[in-house]
């Protein structure tokens, strides 16, 4: 039975990733994009998005699911960038300054978020999702009223014409791609932003190292079973809160890296879809609510963005309208999230049935009863 069973199990465990590969393989030819173009896009997007997706890992280890609250960190990063532009600090220094301003804010909102999620055990994901909306309100208030009224803004170019509040679109020309171009390596037709990749690689190393620390061990223990961890004397709530704080800080840094690559920023909604795209990517990469790894992150970023790149063109060629591809991409993103959540739930149910079979004899009680007679 083993051969057939393992194939079936492999398919069901990797359903999301396989669905994506199939759709992509079908869509690539019809997009009529060149391989060089696609590969260059993938390199750029890996540099742009990976850091944000990596920020999701720690809360998954701690058993808190997908941290939709990471847009809190993104907002902190944006505040840092606004101030960096305001004080005309440009280049890498501007990014460092933004990180310096954003990190303490991220620590504070992360701690608030972690404390709130500790009161909503078992419902972390939906709580963090809603919390992001709430903090978004505060962010809007700060950026729309406080900046220019309370916090002095010296650069009139970024202010709304009424004299306070930040413009809808912020031009990040001063820091634009300063990290990416710090050392741009050209390999054949491709240009690779080496420094950005080095930053991402060092974060990966940090995560690997972190898993081997006492705190990392505790975090995994808490993730598997809070009650047992508590009974062993591990400070459960504190550990969970720390995982959210680290995630929020990483999201803050990730958003700065993301925006420096984009070169401009939609002041009021750049952070809206940060968590949505990051979550979709990690799920497409084969992660689940309970389990995720570094390869999941990179596979996910490549697959999701591959589809994002080709779907408008495929839509154009298939249906005569790029908009359809655009819709398709939204649909795919949310679909991936819904599909993985559903698959995770059904997998948990199948697992319960499997455990039951082991416990009560194969296929339930019938056979056991037969043996008894």
């Amino acid at each position: 039975m083993s051969g057939k069973y393992t194939v079936k199990r492999f398919l069901s465990e990797n359903a999301v990733i396989i669905t994506f590969i199939v759709i992509t393989v079908i869509a690539i030819p019809s997009s009529q994009l060149s391989a060089n173009y696609i590969i260059q896009e993938m390199i750029t997007r890996l540099g742009r998005n990976s850091f944000l997706v990596l920020a999701l890992l720690l809360p998954i280890y701690a058993g808190m699911g997908l941290n939709f609250g990471m847009s809190l960190g993104a907002m902190a990063g944006q505040v840092g960038l606004i101030l960096a532009v305001n004080w005309r600090i440009s280049g890498i220094e501007g990014l460092l300054f933004a990180a310096l301003v954003g990190t303490p804010i991220a620590v504070v909102v992360g701690w608030i978020c972690g404390s709130i999620l500790n009161r909503a055990k078992g419902r972390e994901m939906v709580t963090s999702y809603m919390l992001a909306f709430f903090i978004n309100g505060i962010y809007q208030f700060v950026v729309l009223y406080v900046m220019g009224m309370v916090i002095p803004i010296r650069s009139p170019a970024i202010l709304l014409s009424r004299g306070y509040g930040i413009r809808n679109t912020l031009n990040l020309e001063s820091v634009r791609q300063s990290l990416d171009t710090a050392w741009m390596l050209t390999i054949g037709p491709f240009s690779v932003p080496v420094v950005t990749f080095l930053v991402i690689a060092s974060l990966c190393l940090f995560i690997v190292w972190f898993k081997r620390t006492k705190l990392g061990q505790d975090m995994r223990a808490v993730g598997y079973d809070m009650v047992v961890a508590e009974a062993a004397g591990i400070p459960v709530d504190r550990t969970r809160a720390i995982s959210i704080v680290v995630s929020t800080v990483l999201a803050c840094l990730g958003q700065i890296i993301f925006l420096q690559n984009m070169g401009n920023m939609a002041t009021y909604n750049a952070h809206d879809q940060t968590s949505f795209f990051a979550v979709a990517a990690i799920l497409v990469g084969g992660a689940s609510v309970k389990k995720a790894s570094l390869p999941n992150v990179f596979i996910g970023v490549v697959l999701l963005h591959l589809l994002f790149v080709i779907s408008p063109r495929a839509g154009q060629n298939f249906f005569g309208s790029a908009m359809i591809g655009e819709y398709f991409r939204q649909f795919i993103g949310y679909g991936a999230i819904a599909l993985s959540l559903v698959l995770y739930a059904s997998k948990a149910r199948r697992e319960a049935v499997r455990v039951r079979e082991v416990q009560y004899g194969h296929g339930g009680g019938k056979k056991a009863a037969g043996e008894a007679r």
């Binding site: 620390t213 006492k214 705190l215 009560y360 009863a369």
Partner: protein, 539 residues
């Protein structure tokens, strides 16, 4: 008492919960390297005793205890389980407290990992230290070797057989350097016979190294095999504290179940006649957390009161819950020669089978609704009684007058104490709530009635009334009743036959007049010697 060399001595320990005495003047000693077998029925006070020993907060929250616990002759008052751990006590619970995704080694040293300093220690504190896996593995291996068993230190708990989990848990307790007293609560309950043998041998090993052990088990065979001394608790008092020498299991069983009082049996088997088998259960399994049923077969005759007894956690409560479709179940249940669909509560109710749940407040009642609603509810939902139809059945609405009459009838019949039939049931006392549950089941005019723990948590007077009601209902209406209860006396007083469940299986079916020690033996999973009292179990 108060021996010089006692490691642990418990002196005149008493504990009550809200006026309800659960431990009364309990005293015993334990020496280093001694194995004490602690035996008792449910509610005998074992759990409370262990809670006191371990400084569980539930004890201090409910007014503390009287008497004293001494360790090495010094009074010990633990504020929390962590204090007890520091004093050298270790406990292995019935449910595993292991991290499934961790290896044996990681579980054994959980939160006591060996660490190496790292760069970030100065900034972020000790938790940023790296784990020293080699040292951890070594410590785990030494704890395992103390036990004298072989375990793979790198195997994940999730992949382990149950026996290994048990050993991992014990190894974790003895990995603490200070652990001198180990308490094991039903350690063999989940083990196979051969695994249990290895465990007993491992415990002997530990005792040989000077660790004192309190061994709690319902398997008396094991107690007799391993214990140096046996303490039997019954109704919160120590009824026997004796050296384990030439004791028979039967003696211990009768001390445990005890109660020399003769069973108050109003009706005799004589004069009661039963029809054919109406309920046939064959190979039933039920996945009910805490009360798993593995493989149960029995049949019930029409008009009979059939009792199901056994210790808590052995699966007796799982049987009605499985048949009624409240928990995932499998196997075959036939009622009046028709297959009962499992996992479908509505279909079972429609066949004329009703049940009174052991979870009165959770499943049994609509706490925020009136008596009328509660009593008529199931009949209304399932049988469309107490409804009025308009427009050819398109619109249904409640028949308030019918419900009122029904409620009045049962208030009268069962003597329910309430201010009005509109009162909310949550305001009633436990005994009266139980009567509502019965009335609710009776209102369906069931053909077969399951009653689980009908007297749990209600006072003596109410108990008698509930039992009398059941007996009268059975006599007057010919309703077949299957009663599940932890109270053996109760079962023996009203049932025509009593089945004892042990480890998810029927250990045997006895006449209520059988020797009390036979019941005790069956609860421990031992077949009684005097088999003349035992009916051949229907298969």
């Amino acid at each position: 008492m108060g021996q010089e060399d006692a490691l642990l001595s418990i002196e005149h320990l008493s504990k009550e919960y809200y006026g309800n005495i659960v431990l009364r003047d309990v005293s015993f000693d334990l020496k280093a390297g001694e194995i004490l077998g602690l035996v008792g029925e449910n509610g005998a006070g074992k759990t409370t005793l262990m809670s006191v020993l371990f400084g569980m907060t539930v004890i201090s929250e409910t007014g503390g205890y009287k008497g004293s616990v001494r360790i090495d002759g010094e009074e010990a008052k633990f504020g929390s389980p962590f204090d007890a751990l520091d004093a050298g006590l270790g406990m292995v619970h019935q449910e595993f407290s292991l991290i499934p995704g961790f290896s044996t080694m990681e579980n054994i040293v959980l939160n006591r990992e060996t660490m190496k300093a790292s760069l970030l220690n100065d900034v972020f504190g000790d938790r940023m230290s790296l784990l020293d896996r080699a040292a951890m593995r070594q410590r785990a291996a030494s704890a395992i070797s103390k036990l004298g068993v072989t375990l793979d230190t790198d195997m994940l708990v999730a992949d382990m057989p149950v026996g290994h989990k048990e050993f991992t848990e014990i190894a974790r307790e003895i990995n603490r350097e200070k652990t001198r007293l180990l308490i094991l609560d039903e350690p063999t309950a989940v083990l196979t016979e051969s695994e249990a043998k290895i465990l007993l041998k491992a415990l002997r090993n530990l005792a040989g190294q000077g660790i004192a052990i309190i061994f709690i088990s319902h398997r008396l065979q094991e107690i007799v095999e391993i214990a140096d001394r046996i303490v039997v608790l019954r109704d919160g008092t120590v009824v026997k504290d004796t050296v384990n020498e030439s004791l028979s299991i039967k003696d211990i069983a009768s001390w445990m179940v005890g109660r020399s009082v003769s069973v108050d049996r109003k009706q005799d088997g004589a004069g009661r006649s039963f029809g054919e088998d109406i309920l046939q259960v064959d190979g039933l399994w039920v996945d009910m957390p805490g009360e798993p049923v593995c493989d149960v077969s029995f049949s019930v005759r029409s008009g009979e009161i059939f009792g199901i007894g056994g210790l808590a956690g052995q699966g007796k409560v799982g049987i009605p819950n499985g048949i009624m479709g409240l928990f995932p179940a499998g196997g075959s249940v036939r009622y009046r020669k028709k297959e009962v669909p499992l996992n479908s509560p509505r279909a079972v109710l429609e066949m004329g089978i009703a049940s009174v749940s052991e979870d009165r407040r959770g499943v049994g009642l609509l706490l925020d609704e009136s008596l009328e609603w509660n009593i008529a509810f199931t009949a209304m939902q399932i049988q469309e009684k107490y409804l009025k139809f308009r427009l050819g059945g398109l619109i249904k609405y409640r028949d308030e007058a019918g419900m009122r009459a029904l409620t009045a009838e049962y208030i009268d019949l069962l003597d329910i104490k309430c201010t009005s039939p509109k009162q909310k049931v949550k305001q009633l006392s436990g005994g009266n709530q139980q009567k509502i549950c019965l009335a609710k089941a009776f209102a369906m005019k069931p053909d077969l009635l399951f009653v689980s723990e009908p007297t749990r948590g209600i006072d003596v007077g109410a108990k008698k009334l509930v039992l009398d009601t059941l007996r009268r209902y059975n006599a007057e209406n010919g309703t077949t009743i299957v009663m599940i209860s932890s109270e053996l006396d109760e079962l023996r007083s009203i049932c025509d036959r009593v089945a004892i469940v042990n480890e998810g299986r029927i250990a045997g079916i006895l006449q209520p007049s059988a020797d009390v020690a036979d019941f005790g033996l069956m609860m421990s999973g031992v077949a009684p010697e005097s088999s003349d009292a035992q009916e051949t179990a229907h298969v």
